[in-house]
């Protein structure tokens, strides 16, 4: 019991509040994004639907009044922050100016230079983020595809399993992270096996098939002296598991809208199952797969809460720094300029990757 309390204490007191706030901000942003989309749709339907081909005229003042609450919120929480971020990022010495109440802001790219030349931290952050994306996105997409196809092919209990697979999506990711940490955690001194009180659930399971225990969270064990990979493995498992429900949902929806006659036609032509999957199912699902991969990459680049959830505030002593982690870590120390610059760099990277994704998917998908 004491240990649980200590654990909870560490996570809550040291990291939780900050994390919670950060998480809250992210989530409101997501909510607003949805808002925005709906607003755009609404504006279009209200003002522009009948005006296709004609000159756009917004002369209905009523419409604007209806939109006002959303517009004000968007201006305060989305538009202003974006401009402010850009402004802060391109203001030299923003941080020191701010702290002494200075007013003569000077345009420049010093913040970017500071960030890029900040050495190991930034490099680790970029490398980690890239590596996470490259590993988790294909892995989770493939798994989700297999699970979705399997789910689609069973009749009894389909709704039940659908719900089960969707549960992680509505569960707080910090909570999931803590559970994962508990699953992998080794309680006691790992170097002195006789002192270990609990090897943790995963190690016990692995022990049953004869695998030596690994000190996952501290990074000691099978992978030799490299302390990085066990932690990375835990993180990958967590992220993949956490990413599955959304992807399964999208892919399953896609699968259920595929015309059954394609499968009947394939059946009559005695098509082997694997060929049906690769030649019919996957191409017909390609728009959904593209969507899932693109959003997966965007989500992957913003990975942060998972790491906090499992490894706590220190992000495994900085070993598992990510881009967003880098940004948030700069904030409590009032390095707003650097944080803004890093945010813009992250934006540029996501933008570029998404462009590449879109380009590839345009060539490969069938709509």
């Amino acid at each position: 019991m004491d240990k649980v309390l200590t654990f909870l204490n560490t996570v809550f007191v040291q990291g939780f509040w900050k994390t919670f706030c950060v998480k809250w901000v992210w989530q409101t942003f997501c909510v607003k994004w949805v808002w925005q989309t709906f607003c755009v749709k609404w504006v279009y339907q209200t003002f522009c639907k009948d005006l296709v081909g004609k000159k756009l005229r917004f002369n209905s003042w009523k419409g604007w009044i209806y939109l006002l609450p959303a517009i004000i919120l968007l201006l305060i929480f989305t538009v202003y922050p974006i401009f402010n971020t850009v402004m802060m990022a391109f203001t030299n010495n923003y941080d020191s100016l701010e702290s002494i109440g200075g007013t003569s802001f000077e345009f420049g790219i010093d913040n970017f230079i500071t960030v890029i030349s900040s050495g190991d931290t930034f490099r680790t952050a970029i490398l980690n983020t890239m590596l996470l994306c490259v590993v988790t996105v294909p892995l989770s997409t493939m798994l989700a595809l297999l699970i979705a196809v399997a789910l689609n092919s069973i009749k009894p209990l389909q709704k039940f399993f659908q719900t089960i697979f969707f549960l992680p999506y509505v569960t707080n990711s910090i909570a999931i992270g803590m559970v994962f940490a508990a699953l992998f955690d080794v309680v006691g001194d790992f170097s002195k096996p006789y002192l270990v009180e609990s090897w943790g659930f995963i190690n016990t399971l692995l022990g049953k098939i004869g695998v030596q225990p690994v000190n996952w969270l501290d990074g000691i064990g099978v992978f030799g002296d490299a302390t990085y990979w066990p932690k990375f493995a835990v993180l990958v498992i967590y992220i993949v598991w956490n990413a599955l429900p959304f992807k399964i949902l999208i892919l399953l929806g896609g699968l259920q809208s595929v015309n059954k006659q394609y499968y009947e036609a394939a059946k009559i032509d005695s098509t082997p199952k694997w060929r049906v999957f690769t030649r019919i199912t996957v191409p017909l699902l390609s728009p959904m797969i593209a969507y899932v991969v693109i959003t997966g990459f965007i989500g992957g680049f913003k990975e942060y809460t998972s790491i906090i959830g499992i490894f706590g505030d220190s992000m495994a002593d900085g070993q598992l720094y990510t881009m967003v982690g880098f940004i948030y870590d700069a904030l409590p120390d009032a390095f707003y300029g650097e944080a803004s610059a890093a945010a813009l760099i992250l934006f540029a990277i996501i933008f570029a990757v998404t462009m590449v994704n879109l380009y590839v998917s345009k060539k490969k998908t069938h709509y």
Binding site: N259, Q261, Y262, E264, K267, I268, L284, S286, H366
Partner: protein, 366 residues
Amino acid sequence: MKVELRNLTKVFPSRDKKSGKDVTAVNNFTFEIPDGKLVGLLGPSGCGKSTTLYMISGLQQPTSGKIFFGEEDVTELAPENRGIGLVFQNYALYPHMTVQQNILFPLQNLRGKDKMTKEAMLERAYEAAKLVQIDELMDRKPSELSGGQQQRVAIARALVKMPRVLLLDEPLSNLDARLRLQTREEIRRIQKETGITTVFVTHDQEEAMSISDVIVVMKLGVVQQTGKPQEIYDNPTNLFVAKFLGTPPINVFKGRVENERLYIGENAVLDVKGVKDGNVTAAIRPEGFVLDENGPLVCELSNVEIMGRDVSIVSRHSESLNPTIRSIIDADNRIDATAEGVRFTLKPHKVFLFDAESEERLYFEV
């Protein structure tokens, strides 16, 4: 390959387990489809014609009864082992593949001793494409084709693996009227050229009559009549078949038979030898009317439609079960469209009598 259906029955269990009744889609269907013929399954929607087709294909399992291809019992055989080609109502062409890939697809599935080289497959695909005249369109995607072209691709895909039986499910229902005429001739030509036993399903009697060697008329899962199109048209076994075949539809009257004479209203209109006295339903084909100033059938003239080749007279009669009577007369006849009434005599072989209760045919000597 002849196809034989023996006592084929398909019962769909009711969805509502408590109150609902099971639905018998096909009831005791026995029929032999002769080798190399084109057979049309005809009936209104819900009559079980598509279910029959899908049972022949193997996509649906009969509740009871047997299906034979030649001497081979295929009832338990999976669809992929039956050697059939099936053209779906909406064609089910793979939208992400080109025409060529679509046609090649069944060939690429062949395994074992049937496995073909790439060149051989291409050759076969081009042969099939030539047969349906789409060899110019091999690189297009299905979405870039017209309905008629898509339909041909679907036929080519079904034909390319040389099936023993070709099945077509409402093949013309997605085409516009002009294309439908053209395509049904095309289907006839392809069937004749390949000599493959072909079964097709339609609700359009004109379509079925025009291209089938044999027609099977179905109603509520029960076969009403089978035979050559002209035979069925000239000799329907019951009122349903008489009403279902023919455009414009047959004219139906309430009538009665007294002393071997047919009365419609007050007048005796026809001698019917061998029919017992009693109430009957009389059905008269539109071409069964002859204009006659002293004719016994007196109708109230509504209007006259000039078709060029012939004239269609629309009239009314108190005993008619249709709102109007439509009779087709040779255009050489002069008719006064402003007249109050019109009188006809009847061609005996175009008049069918049915029992008023059972709607079964009552035969009389002509």
